[in-house]
């Protein structure tokens, strides 16, 4: 009797290897199935306002299998819609990265500037992204640059604030080393300041990309044009609820991929964690 569990574990080496993978993959699959079943039950009545998952899939089948069609105007496949949104995010976010890190380093290195600007930043960062849109439209007079500005202004605050903290927390030991070795400003920047602050900078970058992706959807709903945000709004206006659900899934997946992309880049840039 006692030997039977032993025999199981030794005679099934393939099962043994698969077990940890199954342990990771099975629970989320089960959870997803349960949620889909609940959704199906809740929305299966004919009077339901929202489509059930099966109906949503059937309705959007053409969109799923052909994301690359282009019928002109805003009538394009989901690939082009997502790409248009990603382009805006890429421009706005890149600007926010460059300006945010630069401003963060300056503010973090100078106590007077920090005292002067930090209260202002703390107020501005709480302004919701869409509140910037009317100002952007008034100033820039065009839809697309305004959407990009909203991305920029949304993503920049966490980048500035985290970079500032990163620069401020540089251990006094390293600063003393720099002083004793008479490091030039350039050497100090590349050998001490930047490597010490870079984990904090990437925290800001990850928060920033998440907020940027949140903001682009909302901004596009208002400014229109090709883009996943306006696609959602347009679908709502033409009562194609299944399309909205499909778009939301795409938005979620792309948002996750963006976050993982920044995390992946950080593994190349962030120095090894000091242990003591």
């Amino acid at each position: 009797m006692a030997s039977s569990p032993l025999r199981y574990s030794t005679t099934n080496p393939i099962l043994k290897k698969l077990a940890p993978i199954a342990r990771k993959v099975l629970p989320p699959l089960v959870a997803l199935t349960v949620l889909l079943v609940i959704w199906q039950i809740l929305c299966s009545s004919p009077t339901s306002n929202l489509p059930s998952p099966i109906k949503a899939f059937n309705d959007t089948y053409n969109l799923i299998i052909d994301p690359f069609f282009d019928n002109g105007g805003t009538n394009k496949g989901l690939f082009w819609q997502i790409l248009a949104s990603l382009e805006r995010v890429a421009i706005g976010y890149s600007l926010a990265v460059v300006v945010g890190i630069a401003v963060g380093i300056v503010i973090g290195s100078n106590t007077l500037l920090y005292d002067a600007f930090d209260p202002i930043f703390q107020v501005l960062r709480t302004v919701p992204p869409l509140a910037w849109l009317p100002i952007a439209l008034a100033a820039l007079r065009q839809a697309n640059p305004s959407a990009i500005f909203v991305i920029f202004i949304t993503a920049i605050w966490p980048i500035i604030i985290n970079t500032t903290v990163g620069v401020q927390q540089i251990p006094q030991d390293y600063k003393n080393v720099a002083k004793v070795l008479n490091l030039s400003k350039r050497k100090y920047f590349f050998n001490i300041l930047f490597p010490a602050a870079v984990p904090y900078i990437f925290t800001g970058l990850r928060i920033g990309i998440g907020l940027a992706w949140l903001a682009i959807i909302a901004a596009e709903m208002l400014v229109g044009g090709v883009g996943i945000g306006f696609f959602i709004w347009d679908s709502y206006n033409s009562s194609r609820m299944s399309q909205i659900i499909l778009a939301l899934i795409y938005v979620g997946v792309v948002g996750l991929l963006l976050d993982r992309l920044i995390a992946w880049i950080s593994t190349f840039v962030i120095p090894e964690e000091p242990k003591n």
Binding site: D173, Y174, N176, V177, K179, V180, L181, N182, L183, S184, K187, N191, I192, P195, P271, E272, E273, P274, K275, N276
Partner: protein, 276 residues
């Protein structure tokens, strides 16, 4: 006793001393009023001397060292090196910090190279590489050149820190409890190594320690500080053992225990810490 010390300090001022600590006081202003850390400390160090400073925690030993290294300034009085007033850190005085202060994102080689590159910017890359290699060899760490500080032991880290300081060819080596965090065997090894380096390089050493045996083994003179606040030099003990010193023979010398007891008496009876 302070009166006498001051008198002797002023008397010898005309003779050429390498390092002169001249009636130095350090006062920090706090919200509760002024905190006097050091009160009227005077000390003369000859070129090539090995000086140890001992005293209880919080007696301002590190403050004193920081003023010699130039990391902080005396409130009153002066610290002079070859009659030049010390106002900032310089490559003639290198510091080995208690917690190693190596940059964790750079290899052992890069850590030392940064110092060499900063102090000798006009030397060729090849020459600078050679200097780094020589000093790695000096502390027996050629093998560890490509490792990161997180991958090596505490004793090795401190050796790197010493190599980094020596690679810039300073006239004076300032060590702040360099071996405090090491196990006894590693500590003895490094003490031997430090003595050998000191003998070969004819360098002046100022070193803080908590360890009476370490001070007796290493130094020419032992500076004993009274307790803070307002600490000053209580007594300076000449340590007359001939060099090169050998640990085992030193232990057999009856005079060793006389000096040891005298130092113990100073630290644990006359200036016992309040907490003890």
């Amino acid at each position: 006793m302070m009166q006498m010390l001051n008198l002797s300090a002023t008397q010898t001022q005309t003779t050429e001393a390498f390092l002169t600590i001249d009636q130095v006081s350090k006062v920090y202003s706090t919200p509760k009023g002024d905190a006097v850390v050091l009160d009227n400390v005077s000390l003369q160090v000859q070129e090539g001397e090995f000086i140890c400073v001992i005293g209880h925690s919080g007696c301002g030993k590190s403050t004193l060292l920081n003023m010699v290294s130039g990391l902080s300034q005396p409130t009153t009085g002066q610290v002079r090196l070859r009659e030049q007033v010390i106002t900032k850190p310089g490559p003639d005085r290198m510091v080995v910090f208690q917690n190693y202060s190596l940059l964790p994102w750079q290899t052992v080689f890069e850590n030392i190279y940064l110092a060499v590159d900063s102090v000798f910017p006009h030397k060729s890359r090849k020459t600078k590489n050679t200097i780094v290699e020589e000093h790695l060899e000096l502390v027996g760490l050629t093998e560890a050149a490509k490792k990161k500080p997180t991958q090596i032991s505490g004793g090795m880290k401190q050796r790197v820190a010493i190599a980094r300081a020596l690679a810039t060819c300073p006239e004076m080596l300032i060590l702040d409890e360099p071996f405090g965090a090491l196990d006894p065997i590693t500590r003895e090894e490094l003490q031997d190594q430090l003595l050998e380096i000191w003998r070969q390089h004819q360098i002046t050493v100022l070193m803080i320690t908590h360890d009476i045996d370490e001070a007796l083994f290493l130094s020419d003179r032992l500076v004993m500080m009274t307790n803070g606040p307002a600490a000053h030099i209580g007594e300076i003990m000449d340590i007359p053992f001939p060099r090169p010193r050998e640990r085992s023979r030193l232990m057999e010398d009856p005079h060793y225990y006389e000096l040891r007891n005298e130092a113990l008496d100073f630290l644990y009876r006359r200036f016992a810490h309040e907490e003890v």
